[in-house]
Symmetry: none
Subunit: 223 residues, 4 copies
Amino acid sequence: MTESAKKPPREEIEAAASPPPRMLRETTLNEARRALILDAARAVFFELGLEGTSLREIAKRAGYTPGAIYNYFNNREEIYAALLSESLERLKEAVDNADSDPAEPAAPALLQARARAFFKFYQDNPQDMDLGFYLFNGAQPRGLTPELNQQLNDQLRATLLPIQEMLVSLGLAEAEAVAETTAIFAHAVGLLMLHHTQRIRLFKQNAQELFEQYLAFLIQRIS
Amino acid sequence: MTESAKKPPREEIEAAASPPPRMLRETTLNEARRALILDAARAVFFELGLEGTSLREIAKRAGYTPGAIYNYFNNREEIYAALLSESLERLKEAVDNADSDPAEPAAPALLQARARAFFKFYQDNPQDMDLGFYLFNGAQPRGLTPELNQQLNDQLRATLLPIQEMLVSLGLAEAEAVAETTAIFAHAVGLLMLHHTQRIRLFKQNAQELFEQYLAFLIQRIS
Amino acid sequence: MTESAKKPPREEIEAAASPPPRMLRETTLNEARRALILDAARAVFFELGLEGTSLREIAKRAGYTPGAIYNYFNNREEIYAALLSESLERLKEAVDNADSDPAEPAAPALLQARARAFFKFYQDNPQDMDLGFYLFNGAQPRGLTPELNQQLNDQLRATLLPIQEMLVSLGLAEAEAVAETTAIFAHAVGLLMLHHTQRIRLFKQNAQELFEQYLAFLIQRIS
Amino acid sequence: MTESAKKPPREEIEAAASPPPRMLRETTLNEARRALILDAARAVFFELGLEGTSLREIAKRAGYTPGAIYNYFNNREEIYAALLSESLERLKEAVDNADSDPAEPAAPALLQARARAFFKFYQDNPQDMDLGFYLFNGAQPRGLTPELNQQLNDQLRATLLPIQEMLVSLGLAEAEAVAETTAIFAHAVGLLMLHHTQRIRLFKQNAQELFEQYLAFLIQRIS
DNA sequence: GATGAATGAGAATTCATTCAT
DNA sequence: CATGAATGAATTCTCATTCAT
C-alpha cells in the first residue's frame, strides 16, 4: 500500500490471465528492494533531517553501495520524490479513513473529522511536513521533473478534496469551498509550523486546541 | 540601526565613566566590520538562497578571506543568527510603522494595518522567512546557543505585541488576545508558506486576499 | 561485409566436411549479434567521441544490458579493436576503389588518386583517426593482445601497399618506395592532425591543398 | 624559466624600488608550490598517460590533499593548460637555442637546425606531444577558456616563427613561407606520431632520417 | 544467451574550519 | 586583524566488470 510503483511493470499487462511466475517474482523482489531503500531514506531523513541526508548514508543504511542505488532511482531527487509521494499517500489514507470514525456522520462532524485527521497526521509526523516543504520549494521544485511535480500536486489536491466536498455539503458555493479549503490548509500548516519549531511555546498556546477553535468558528460562520 | 551588537559590548558598559578612547575606537571599528560582513551575508543569502550561501561566498563579497570571518563570528550559524536578529528588527519596524499610516486610527483599522504589515513584510521578503524557519527548526534550533535563541524569541514576541494590544483594545481578555495573536500569526505563516512554495496556485487562490478575509472575519467575530 | 569475425571461426574450419547445422546456425546468429553491438559502438563512438563512449551506452543502443556484451567481447578494448579493424577495412576499400575512378590510369594519376583517397577517408571521418590513435598508443597498445595488434598492423600495411606499388611503378626501388610510402603516410597523418585539432587555422592553411602540393612535389621529384 | 606565472603578482609592481621582503618571499613560495604541483602533474601525466591522470593522483604525488590543489588552480584543465604552456615554453627555448649551435650560420643550415630542434624536442619528449594534442582537440579545446586557448596558440605560433623567417631568408614569399612552415610542422608531427605509436616499425623506417630527408628535399627545392 | 543486481573504485569539486604567520 | 595554506570529510554520480539466476 505504501509503495507507489515508479518503474513500469512492463509486460505484466499483456498476459493478464497468467502472469509468468518468474517475472512476478522479480517484480516483487524489485519493489521490495526499492521499498527497502525508501525505508532507509525515510529513516535517515527523519533522523538527520534534510541536511544530513545523503545518498551515501541512505545506501549505507539500506545495506548498499552508493552506486547500487542508481539501479532503483536515477538520482537523489527521485528518492525524495518517491518519499514525498508515499507520504502523501499515507496522508490521503489518513484523511479518507477519518470517515469511518463511526457515530455521527453529520456534515459538520465529518468536516471536523477530516480536517482533524489532516492536522493530526502532520502533527504526529513532523518530518513528513519537512519533506513536503523541502520539495515544494521555489518556482522550480528542487530537481523534480515537471511530471513528478504535477503528480505530487495532484496527490495533494486529491487529499484535500474530501474536505472541500464537505464544505459544499454544508452549503458553500464551489468557489467558496475552494477558498475555505485553502484557508483551512493554510491555518493547519501555520499552526504546525509554529508547533514543530516550538515557537508556539512563546505564546503558551496549544496547536491542536487552536486548530479546533478555528474549525469551530468556521463551522459556526458557514452554518 | 540595522546592527545588533552581539559580541563586544561588555567592556563598554563596565567603564561607563571614562571609556578609554583606544578601546572605543576599536570597538566601533569592529562593529562596522561586523556590519560589513552581515551586509554581505544578507546579500548572498537573498541572492542565492540558503543552499547557495557559503562562508566563502560571504567572505568574498565582504572583501575578506574565509578565515577572517572567524574574528567576528564563531561559526556560520552565528552569522545566520545575526542575520535573523536583524531581520526581526526590520520586521518590528515595519509593524510599528504601520501605525503612522494616517487617517483612521480606530482600533479595528489599526489591527488590520499591523497584521497586514506583518504579512506584507514576509510576502515581500521570502528569504527572511526562510531564514527564520532555517534557524527555528526542530527542538534544538540549529547551532544556536540558548541565549541567542532566547533573544530571537524575545524579538519575535515584541514584534507581535502591538497586534496583541490592539486585540485587547477591541475588548478581548488578555488570554484571548494572546490566543488570537497566535492564530493570526499562524494563519499568516501558513498562507505565506503556500504562497512562497507556490502551492497556493493549486487552488487558484490569492494569499493576500485570503489573509484580508481572515482578518475581516476575525474583526467581525470579536466586535 | 563490414564484419571481421574475431572469435568464433575456429570450429567452422576443422569440420570443413559437414558443419553440424545447429552449430552453424548458432555461429551465424552470434556473428550477427556481434555486428549489432559493433554498429552500436560505432554509432556511439562517432557521436560522442572517445570520452563519451561507455560500455553502458553501447549496450543500451544495441538493446542489451551491459553484462550481455561480455558474451561477445572480453572487455571494452576488444570492442575498440574490432571497431578499428573494421575501420581499417573501410579505409582499405576506399583506397582500393580509388582505382575505379575512371579516365587516366597513368601511374602518377593512380598514385595521386590512391593517396588522396587515403587522405580523404580520414578527413571525412575524424573519429576513425581518433580510434586508431587511441589504440595505437605508446609501447604496449592499450589492452590489445599481441595477436590483435599484429592483425591490425597487417591491415594497415595492406592498405598502404597499393600506394607503395604505384611508387615502384613510377620507377622507385623497393626500399625507396617503402620510405616514400611512409613519408606520404606521415605527411597525411600530420596534416590531418593539424586539421582535426584546428591548429591549421593558425596558419590559415588548407590541409587538402597542402597535401595535394606535397603529392605534386613528390611526383615531380621522382619522375 | 619553466614557470609561466598565472596568478597575478599584484602589488609587486607599485613598489618597483624595494619589493617588500615579506611579499617577495610569499610570492616565491607560492610559485614554488605551484611548480611542485605542476611537476607532480607532469610526472603523473608522463607515467600514467591522459587517462590515468586524475586530480587525486596529482595531489597525492605533490603531497597534497585534493582540495588543496584548488588553492593554486581553479580546475583540472587549468593544470593541463599550465603544463602545456610550460611545455611550449621549453619547446620554444629549444628551437631558439638551435641558433647558438655555432659554426655555419648560413640560412639553409639554420633552417635545418631549427626544424631539427623542433623535431628532436618531441622525439625526446613524447608526452609533451600527447599533452598538446590532448588539449588542442576538437572545436572547443577541452575545458579551456578562449583566452587560455589563444595564449597557447600564440605560444605555438611564436615557436614556429623562427623557422618561417628562415624560409623567407631563403627567398620564399611570405605566403609561401607560411605554407612551407605548416608543411614542415605537419611532416614532423606525422612522423612523430608514427614514431611514438611505433607504427613506423611496420615500415622499418627511421623517423629522424625521414625527417632529414624531407628537409633536404625541401631546401633543394627552394634553393 | 541475457538479465539485473551489485561491487568497488574512482571522478571532480566544495565546504567549514583551523592555524601559523 | 587578516591572510593564505591546508585539512579532511563530504558531495553526487559514473564506470567496467562480475555473477547468480
